[in-house]
């Protein structure tokens, strides 16, 4: 059973699903760190930059952005869209930038530690 490929993929998918759930905020903030964007641009950024491992619905992004707006981490300004109505261009507030930078400092930078990088990319010993 342990070596069954289907079983392995099932477990991997379960882990990835849980892992990805917590990733949306990071990718969303990262997209806004690059430049102010409207919802479709945020969606495009997240999907492209994550090699399509993270996908998100527009409605879900709107809800999330509204919540972060209420928490003063994200703000928006309205700007002209292509032919259509005015769009909301979202950007990170100073608080949003601070939180993202501290999050990266505490949780992302540690993966760039040389010893950890070696371990991450090593094949690993099988102790079975």
């Amino acid at each position: 059973m342990k070596n069954d490929e289907a079983y392995k993929q099932q477990l991997l998918k379960s882990w990835e699903d849980t892992y990805k759930k917590g990733q949306l905020t990071f990718w969303l903030f990262l997209s806004l760190k690059e430049a102010p964007k409207y919802v479709n641009e945020i969606k495009e950024f997240i999907e492209k930059k994550s090699n399509y491992t993270i996908t998100c619905e527009g409605q879900s992004l709107y809800r999330t952005l509204r919540k972060y707006h209420d928490f003063e981490m994200v703000n928006y300004k309205t700007g002209k869209g292509n032919k259509g109505p005015e769009r909301k261009y979202y950007f990170l507030t100073t608080l949003g930038h601070d939180i993202l930078n501290e999050f990266i400092e505490r949780n992302i930078k540690l993966f760039f530690n040389e010893n950890l990088t070696d371990l991450i990319f090593s094949k690993g010993d099988d102790h079975d």
Partner: protein, 139 residues
């Protein structure tokens, strides 16, 4: 000043209407000694409040202050119910069997329960950021 959401304002208006109907039929049934009408009025009134609060509460369109909602609905219900009860009594719409002591008894008993709710609400609120539990902000 308590900040009311759109749905809570709708609930308040409907609750005023339900309570006026309840008071009318309750006084009528007591005066006419109609026990069946008394029970059915109370049951319908209770069900209407529950269903209305359930639907409007579930569809609250807010992202912050979620944890305050339950207490706000309770507080508004308490204020409206007892204000109407007092006004009903002093306007002499109530039956002869509904004395002011009963109205005051409800205000005090319910007031104690409301205070207990407030106590637990304040404890729960300590672990929130802007009324949202910390583990629900970035989920």
């Amino acid at each position: 000043m308590i900040n009311l959401s759109k749905n809570l304002k709708i609930f308040s208006l409907l609750f005023v209407f339900y309570t006026l109907c309840f008071r009318y039929f309750l006084s009528l049934s007591i005066t006419s000694h109609n026990g069946t009408m008394q029970w059915s009025t109370a049951i319908i009134y209770g069900l209407l409040i529950f269903i209305t609060a359930w639907i409007l509460g579930k569809n609250e369109d807010i992202t912050i202050g979620i944890i305050d909602l339950g207490f706000k609905y309770h507080f508004v219900t308490y204020v409206i119910f007892n204000t109407i009860a007092l006004l009903w009594h002093f306007s002499e719409f109530s039956s002869n069997y509904e004395t002011v002591e009963y109205v005051v008894l409800v205000i005090i008993t319910w007031g104690i329960l409301l205070a207990i709710h407030l106590f637990f609400h304040l404890i729960a609120r300590k672990n929130t950021i802007k009324g949202v539990p910390g583990d629900q902000i970035f989920e």
